[in-house]
């Protein structure tokens, strides 16, 4: 009796187990397809631009970090910059000029209305800058690090700078303009949630709830004839599975095997992944032996960038050169005298020769210094940044081939940020470059950001100092002659190439995913008119370029 009972039990357990195994195995071959919400019309765009975890807070103050993404489509900047190639598109400023290196004059459009029917005036612009001056916590683009004062004259807004500061134009142009007739009554703009936003942008706020909000076309928009999107829907939650299955018209996400997932979900799905920055090794220049340029060169020569780029970005991104520039976007800034576009290729012999100049020689499979100790260091990257982690592991393996021992440190993102800001690292992985080359080199090299390890800095995490670089950066600020500016950018590249304050590895990607079933005209490699990101101000330009696919064409 007991025996049959036991047997019966085992048979049952086995059946349940088998059924579960079958369920799991069948999962491996199931193809997920996109299931768009049928209630979303042909004139409506579904975007995964805004993520509110676990629910949205109603915050449309465009200067707060936790603002709703769409607030930056309700408020517009003076100039819309394409960070890919640094093109400046006139926006609320119809044109601008720099009579000298310490003055910027912006001419404001006279045909722009706020969404409540009031006219946009140069006084609104001046008011906005004043608001940012009085509330430094709102000055997220840092306008008042450059400005002395702002005044209006007719249609012009005249900005007086603190000193010769020609490159500040693009930073000042990024400032989003808010209406004086509403914001002048706000008591504390630093905590103002602006629940009923009134802006100049192409859309006004539609329905709002904790899980989703919608935007409706602003019929009185100054470029209303170019906007063919009637509504935009932004849900609060979007996972990677959602991105593929929910039928988004526009997504922004790094996605594994984009062809087999996003591409396979719909025949209308396309993507464009242009490079948006350089992912580099940041040596702490105050820590031996990274204070020695030969050691840095040895490390740079020991790396196989093709392999790092392939492993880290699943082959979507190209290896990056040693100039800090992003190619091909910034090709025009490249110094032609730098060999091979600045690309350093793996060369084991040359790497060992560079190490040898500082007394490191190969002893068996260990690279040892004069004291007999192996060259070893800890490489810090942020936990959860999977591409950086894969890059770090590849670097670890490649350096082991020249006898250098690398250990990995993976603090949480906040811990990582604090480590690089405070110089609490030996070598770290970090991003640099992008946008205006001057800004990129200034952030990377300027000793203005230099503090010793142990103190906090916002840029120049590797703690580089050079009179030559500082002099070049200062000269650039005083120069409004584009030819001289180009020369200076060439010289700065030379410094990065020769001194290796950071070691470039591969490009960081911009992950634009599009569906052209309802709207076409997306930015692409053939027509890179704007960075394909669906947050910040970039969509303002993209919205004007998109055309509806009318019912019949489908």
């Amino acid at each position: 009796m007991a025996k049959t009972h036991m047997l019966r039990r085992w048979r049952r357990a086995a059946i349940v187990g088998l059924a579960a195994a079958a369920v799991v195995l069948s999962g491996c071959s199931i193809q997920i397809s996109s299931q768009p919400d049928p209630s979303i019309g042909d004139d409506t765009m579904l975007i995964n631009a805004d993520k509110g975890n676990p629910f949205f807070t109603r915050n449309f103050n465009p200067y707060l970090t936790n603002t709703r993404t769409a607030s930056r489509w309700i408020y517009e900047p003076l100039i819309l910059v394409n960070p890919l190639d640094n093109t400046l598109n006139p926006w609320l400023a119809e044109s601008w000029s720099q009579p000298d290196a310490r003055t910027v004059v912006m001419t404001i459009r006279d045909d722009v209305e706020w969404s409540d029917g009031e006219q946009l005036t140069p006084e609104d612009v001046a008011f906005t800058f004043q608001l940012l001056k009085e509330n430094p916590s709102l000055d997220i683009k840092g306008a008042w690090q450059h400005l002395e004062s702002v005044e209006t004259s007719g249609d012009d807004v005249i900005m007086h700078l603190q000193g010769d500061d020609a490159p500040s134009l693009s930073i000042l142009g990024l400032t989003m303009i808010v209406p004086e007739h509403i914001w002048s009554d706000v008591k504390d703009p630093g905590t103002f949630r602006n629940e009923e936003p009134v802006g100049t942008g192409p859309f006004v706020l539609g329905n709002y709830n904790d899980q989703q909000y919608s935007m409706d076309k602003n019929p009185d928009y100054w470029q209303a004839d170019k906007i063919q999107i009637e509504h935009i829907i932004l849900p609060a939650t979007n996972t990677q599975l959602d991105t593929v299955t929910r039928g988004y018209d526009w997504s922004y996400s790094f996605i594994s095997d984009v062809e087999g997932t996003w591409g396979a979900a719909s025949e209308h799905n396309t993507w464009w992944f242009p490079p948006g920055g350089v992912i580099a090794l940041l040596p702490n220049l105050e820590v031996a032996p990274f204070d020695d340029v030969n050691v840095r060169r040895g490390i740079a020569l020991a790396l196989n960038r093709d392999e790092i780029a392939e492993t880290a970005s699943e082959g979507y991104m190209q290896p990056a050169g040693q100039t800090g520039l992003i190619l091909p976007n910034q090709e025009e800034y490249l110094d032609p005298s730098i060999p091979d576009g600045g690309m350093i290729t793996q060369d084991r012999e040359a790497a060992l020769a560079a190490f040898a100049e500082s007394g490191y020689t190969l002893d068996g499979d260990r690279l040892v210094g004069q004291d007999g100790e192996q060259l070893e260091f800890a490489l810090t990257t942020a936990n959860g940044y999977s591409d950086w982690t894969r890059a770090a592991q590849t670097v670890q393996r490649q350096l082991a081939d020249v006898g250098v021992k690398v250990t990995l440190k993976l603090p949480q993102p906040a811990g990582y940020q604090s480590a690089i800001s405070n110089g609490d690292f030996e070598m770290a992985i970090g991003g640099m470059g992008g946008g205006d080359p001057y800004q990129a080199y200034n952030n990377l090299l300027s000793s203005e950001f230099y503090v010793p390890s142990g103190e906090q800095t916002a840029n120049n995490f590797e703690r580089y100092r050079s009179d030559e670089a500082d002099a070049l950066l200062a000269e650039y600020r005083e120069t409004i002659d584009p030819a001289r500016q180009t020369e200076i950018v060439h010289e700065l590249q030379g410094i990065v190439y020769d001194e290796l304050p950071v070691i470039g590895m591969y490009y960081g990607g911009i992950w634009g995913l599009f569906n052209d079933a309802k709207f076409t005209g997306w930015p692409s490699a053939e027509d890179p008119y704007m960075i394909p990101q669906n947050y910040d101000s970039a969509p303002l330009l993209i919205f004007t370029k998109l055309e509806r696919v009318k019912g019949d064409d489908k």
């Binding site: 970090t65 997220i140 840092g142 829907i233 811990g415 604090s418």
Partner: protein
């Protein structure tokens, strides 16, 4: 009375320890809230010096010595004022908590009560019908399902019932197109969205209640008073429910009290998998964002509710079983 006072003293002491730990633990994490915000931003490209300064100004870096901060914090706790959330700046912590709490209580609370009720009933039946299929089937499946990790069950359900079969919505608490309010449509939608996370919690917790109840019940069924009742010719159902189950339920009731205390914390994994806007998911995001004020309020809320549940169970036990009072 002495028993109650003793327990009360212990309660206050534990509460103080929890409040204190609650203050120091987040501060031992490396990096500041501003670092967390900047790290998040810098994934989308380098963050300028100006942006960093503005973020620090917005969030306000904690000032004063650790001791001063601690004293200020104790004052806040007493006033139940938890300030402004960092990750949801400039929203107040209390408004975040009050938005998330109903979802968690509604989902995790109801499912926990259901799981307890259903599991206990099945356990009673299983013990009463020992050896039959009514015993083996629920006991085996229950224990089998409860060995699955929470999130794994959640992912399986999400994948098959959500993405492959499209039977149930996969994320959120209600469809984005529904307007929240006390309408039939909204409530129906709310229920549809709760099915998958509820099923996950139910499936993984049912086994524990079944087995706990079944084993306790089998013990009591062997007691003399049950045999005596049988000999008296009482009806089977009366014996099972009024004689055996009534005594056997005590350990399960303890477990139930503690689980109820934990409900307030929600279920972080389940809520995260289904992006369910409850306390668990909120807590996850607070930790990721190094949101001290929100974290402190949530941890405190969870600790206090577990402590209260513990305290109540102690008192209840004291009342039900006089032996514990000695």
């Amino acid at each position: 009375m002495k028993y109650v006072l003793q327990k009360l003293g212990l309660f206050v002491l534990t509460l103080w320890a929890a409040v204190t730990l609650n203050f120091f633990l987040p501060r031992m994490m490396p990096g500041s809230p501003a670092d967390a915000a900047i790290a998040k931003l810098s994934q989308n490209g380098p963050v300028s010096d100006a942006t960093r300064r503005a973020i620090e100004a917005q969030l306000g870096v904690p000032t004063g010595s650790l001791w001063d901060q601690y004293v200020a914090y104790l004052g806040q706790v007493v006033r139940l004022d938890f300030g402004v959330s960092y990750t949801f700046y400039p929203q107040s912590v209390s408004s975040m908590v009050s938005t998330a709490l109903p979802y968690t209580i509604g989902l995790v609370g109801i499912v926990t009560v259901l799981a307890f009720a259903i599991g206990t009933l099945i356990g009673v039946t299983a013990a009463w019908r020992r050896g039959t299929w009514l015993d083996t089937l629920p006991t085996l499946t229950g224990s089998f399902l409860s060995t699955f990790p929470y999130f794994w069950t959640a992912l399986l359900l999400l994948f098959f019932l959500g993405y492959v079969l499209h039977w149930f919505p996969t994320t959120g608490a209600y469809a984005a197109t529904t307007t929240p309010g006390f309408t039939g449509d909204f409530l129906a939608d709310l229920l549809r969205h709760a099915v998958l996370p509820a099923l996950t919690i139910l499936l993984t917790s049912l086994g524990g209640w079944i087995i706990g109840m079944r084993n306790a019940m089998i013990n009591t069924l062997g007691e003399d008073y049950v045999t005596f009742a049988e000999a008296n010719g009482l009806r089977g159902r009366t014996i099972a429910l009024r004689y055996a189950a009534r005594n056997a339920i005590l350990p399960n009731l303890t477990g139930f009290g503690l689980t109820l205390g934990g409900v307030v914390g929600g279920s972080i994994l389940v809520e995260q998998v289904f992006q369910y806007p409850g306390i668990g998911y909120l807590l996850f995001n607070a930790v990721i964002g190094q949101d001290y004020p929100l974290m402190q309020a949530l941890f405190l809320m969870i600790t206090v509710s577990v402590l209260i549940a513990n305290f109540l169970v102690d008192i209840l036990y004291g009342a039900l079983d006089p032996r514990t009072r000695r």
